[in-house]
């Protein structure tokens, strides 16, 4: 396996935080510990040799039946070096939160709200942790694999 520049730098700087890495067909991926996500993101953004200044996507996956159940995925891009990296963090259902990366990339704001809305993973220190796509009063998180497919939600009345 050819470890890339990014993964080498990460392993050098955070030796205890990297759970797993791979570079399958050039897609650099690192699975990291939940506690260190913000420090790792700040490092990826600020380090002179990496400069991942563009957070392209932030999403989540529900691995129902596995433990930890959820996985939050960050897709990062460095405009300067034309490099991409994926950072993955596993989040257990019983303790369903992770540190927000809004202080690192302000654009993560709505992505994190979307993940909260549809998966129910909440983000610590997020400036406005509430639903973004669905409405207040919606019950449950519809992209969870155990969301009942035929569930009917309460209809909402006129605004105000």
């Amino acid at each position: 396996m050819n470890a890339s520049v990014t993964l080498n730098r990460l392993a050098e700087r955070f030796p205890g935080s990297i759970i797993d890495t791979h570079s399958h067909r050039g897609d650099d991926t690192a699975v990291v510990k939940r506690e260190d996500i913000r420090a790792i993101c700040a490092f990826l953004r600020e380090d002179e040799g990496l400069l991942y200044n563009f957070m392209m996507d932030l999403t989540a996956v529900d691995y129902l039946g596995q433990e930890p159940r959820f996985e939050v995925v960050y897709h990062l891009y460095s405009l300067k070096y034309n490099r991409r990296v994926r950072i993955k963090v596993r989040v257990p259902e019983s303790d369903c939160f992770i540190d927000s990366v809004v202080p690192v990339w302000p654009c993560a704001n709505w992505f994190e709200r979307e993940v909260f809305d549809l998966y129910g993973v909440s983000f610590n220190d997020h400036p406005e942790m509430r639903r973004i796509l669905l409405y207040e009063g919606f019950e449950g998180h519809p992209l969870r694999k155990d969301y009942p497919i035929k569930k009917r939600q309460p209809l909402i009345g006129p605004i105000n």
């Binding site: 669905l134 409405y135 519809p142 009917r152 309460p154 009345g157």
Partner: protein, 192 residues
């Protein structure tokens, strides 16, 4: 009335229900028309719809087609879309309505002045269509009263015109007591 019973819906209505009193009209030399005020008002209403296009999805293209010169809803007196609900009396709900849009739909409906009618255009507005999921309202009749349902994904312009003629027939039969309908109720959360 000397009209032949031709196949168009609107004329059919006219020939099946001739004006109430032909004899007095003849006695008065044909210079006077006697009818019921209700019929005259309904006749005026059914040929003078002002649409409010509540268009949310791909059915909108088909609505443009039916409103355009080829199929031409103007022939049936429904030429002019009004983009203010205050000036409209026919709400065309064209496309998928999500739960998040539902309050807006009800609010716009309640802002229209009566008499007013609702046209569910396309299967999504009729029943939610294949969007049987957490985000989509399963038919706008769960929110507001609907007069005409035209299914189809999207409906052909001929279907829309047929639905439109049916709406005209419905309007022709209305009574004073049918109005006002009042504001559309909001479904309480514990009812669904």
């Amino acid at each position: 009335m000397g009209l032949e019973n031709i196949q168009y819906g609107a004329s059919q209505e006219l020939t099946q229900n001739p004006p109430d009193s032909e004899d007095p009209e003849r006695l008065l030399g044909g210079s006077v028309v006697l009818t019921r005020l209700e019929s005259v008002v309904n006749w005026a209403r059914k040929y003078s719809f002002f649409l409010y296009p509540f268009i949310t999805a791909c059915c909108g293209m088909e609505f443009m087609s039916v409103a355009g010169p080829r199929y031409d809803l103007d022939r049936f007196g429904a030429a002019l879309p009004r983009f203010s609900p205050r000036q409209a009396d026919l709400m065309m709900v064209v496309g998928t309505i999500s739960h998040k849009q539902a309050p807006i739909l009800v609010k716009v409906y309640n802002q229209m002045t009566e008499p007013k009618w609702v046209f569910a255009f396309g299967v999504c507005a009729v029943s939610g269509g294949f969007y049987d999921n957490y985000a989509t309202v399963q038919g706008i009749d769960t929110l507001i009263p609907v007069d005409v349902y035209v299914p189809g994904c999207p409906p052909r312009p001929e279907m829309v015109i047929d639905g439109f003629l049916k709406l005209q027939q419905k309007v022709a039969k209305e009574r004073w007591s049918d109005w006002p309908r009042g504001a559309s109720p909001v479904t309480p959360a514990n009812m669904c």
